[in-house]
Symmetry: C2
Subunit: 368 residues, 2 copies
């Protein structure tokens, strides 16, 4: 795998990831782009919940609503200047032009004793990753080598972004489908390098710490072992990974994918884990796409150990989550008052039923 | 105010609230309804987050998708047998026919030491409240007396449901608009009596307790005082109440409404607070409806002290929250990966701007 670094017209970084080390990656960005790095977002502390909320008021001026023939993630050609100057590529990562968290402010460290009214510049970094030069595919259509290149890019960005000052958590994720607000159809994901540990992970670590104090064991180790033992919600298992619908799933379709080995970050994947993941992840996504008439809208991402928080590593364990709001052919799950205001979830789908549906579709897709 | 109790054909309770004590409230439910109370939901413990998730698999069989001329919340007439047997009413509360939490299982107390795999019957109670016999109005169209009757019903249900065994939290709320999944247009809200303290409130209480330990003061008292002092996001204020957009608002439109006095439950409202609320709440909703071309979709509800948790009262304080996913005339806020998977919110709207928009509309609606 070769990584080539370049810069876009406004100074943002772009990284090409290639299997073919001879591919030329030297084209300059010919666009006339105004420097937008000055437009900084802020974040405010919500004392009632203990969360930081990013207020990206500057993003309201986004003018980036491309026509279908002006996809900013397709390669540049004679008719179209996209975010990617090259006329072809394999996998590309570049800095988001309208980031919610931005490096420009690096150095203004987050306050350790926030209170009501605390407001800070939203440090960090937001990147976009495109999975393929082809506009109409998705992760489901990638072969093992192509998927492997995406994973290599994930690993590279995890390693690099977690080294940045003020970055406390690197989140690699994908939103897919108009149902979750995605306007760019081109297959892509995102990477947020947050300047704080997000609420979900903070809660997870606190639960794991309490569990460790009580049982002298890793909570996530035990959860994986218990799901394997229960064997009621398993979708897929091999020598390296297990995918299941969790016992207390709250979304209509919800998958957790865990390595069998306790590792805390994508950077620790060994070759067997890497190759296995590259092989079955596209198949898993395809099985989800076969549940209904159209591809499943989803949100998915990697849970990893926080950066610059060595004390959190002992309770961290790498896993992948994928959730969907689709609950039947024509129905979506809406997060209404109970979920949105109280955090009390009501699910209409039995986790064992959801697991059965996905497993059936997964098994139909025999490795050819 | 007169309250009349009756029962529906399948045994569910129905309560009529009337200003006119002579209104006849004796009609029997003539429908032939199968007993559905046997269909019990369950709830499962999510060890990773510490939340209970209700799994209402039995609700998938809901057949209740009425035609517009078969609204189940309109009064019964010669052509239509609704959930309300009377041919007229003012405000009505009745038990939900397909409840996520149900009384039938009362007595099976929630475990105090849940672990992975814990599953319990979902005890509690779910009720529906209809604000008006008129199909096409909303809270915004109620006069002070009508709104007062709704508040009286809220107080009655808060008092009664909080006395139930195994009920730890009474949540009075409303989902409004197709954008949040509401299929019944008739103006109505809901009441959930949870067998646990919901995540949001648990976090709020934990933050308040930490604040009290640090400052020997009430967190919510101080937040109200600081918002009043800042005076940048206030929408409305009188001798009893203040409404503002919170400093760290995460939804595009988000309002908190606090009594100026520290009280912990709707049952403690004094006459002045009651009359003031009955007068301005419809006006506040109407000002939201005037922000855009069509009525604002919203989720709203009361934060109160937990039931049967005397130790939580010291850190509780009554307030009302209203949030909306609408961020401009044509755009909705989608909760994507950062919000849904990580709990890290990104807002595109400056809270001071949102407050200004609402305040402008509110002030246009001078009390006539």
């Amino acid at each position: 795998m070769r990584k080539t670094t370049n810069h876009l017209a406004d100074g943002r970084s772009i990284f090409y990831f290639d299997l073919d080390a001879s591919a030329p990656r030297v084209k300059a960005d010919q666009r006339n782009l105004a420097d937008v790095t000055a437009a900084q977002g802020s974040m405010r502390y919500d004392l009632l919940t203990g969360d930081w909320v990013a207020i990206a008021g500057h993003r309201q001026q986004r003018i980036f609503h491309p026509n279908i023939d002006q996809c900013p993630l397709c390669p540049t050609n004679a008719d179209r200047e996209s975010e990617i100057p090259e006329s072809d590529y394999s996998v590309v990562v570049f800095e988001n032009r309208f980031p919610s968290f931005s490096q420009a402010s690096s150095g203004s460290s987050i306050t350790q004793t926030p209170s009501w009214g605390s407001e800070q510049v939203a440090t960090g970094r937001c990147e976009v990753i495109t999975y393929s030069p082809l506009h109409d595919v998705s992760l489901a259509q990638l072969n093992q080598a192509e998927m492997g290149l995406v994973i290599s890019a994930w690993i590279d960005r995890s390693a690099e972004l977690s080294q940045l000052t003020d970055v406390n958590y690197v989140f690699i994720f994908e939103n897919r489908g108009a149902e979750v607000g995605v306007t760019l159809h081109h297959p892509h994901g995102q990477i947020y390098a947050y300047p704080f540990i997000p609420t979900y992970v903070e809660k997870l670590l606190s639960q794991a710490k309490e569990y460790r104090n009580l049982h002298q064991r890793s909570m996530l180790d035990d959860v994986v072992a218990k799901e394997l033992l229960a064997d009621e919600r398993i979708i897929f298992q091999d020598n390296s990974w297990v995918a299941f619908v969790p016992h207390a799933a709250r979304w209509p379709y919800e998958i957790q994918l865990h390595p069998l080995r306790n590792i805390t970050s994508l950077t620790e994947l060994n070759e067997r884990e890497f190759e296995s993941l590259a092989g079955f992840l596209p198949r898993l996504i395809k099985s989800l796409d076969n549940l209904f008439d159209s591809p499943l809208p989803y949100m998915a991402g990697w849970v990893q150990a926080p950066s610059n928080s060595p004390e959190a590593v002992v309770d961290s364990r790498l896993f992948f989550r994928l959730v969907s709001v689709q609950r039947s052919e024509a129905k979506l799950k809406y997060l209404a008052g109970s979920e949105s205001l109280m955090g009390a979830w009501i699910s209409d789908v039995l986790p064992e039923d959801a697991a059965g549906h996905i497993r059936t579709e997964f098994q139909k897709l025999a490795v050819s």
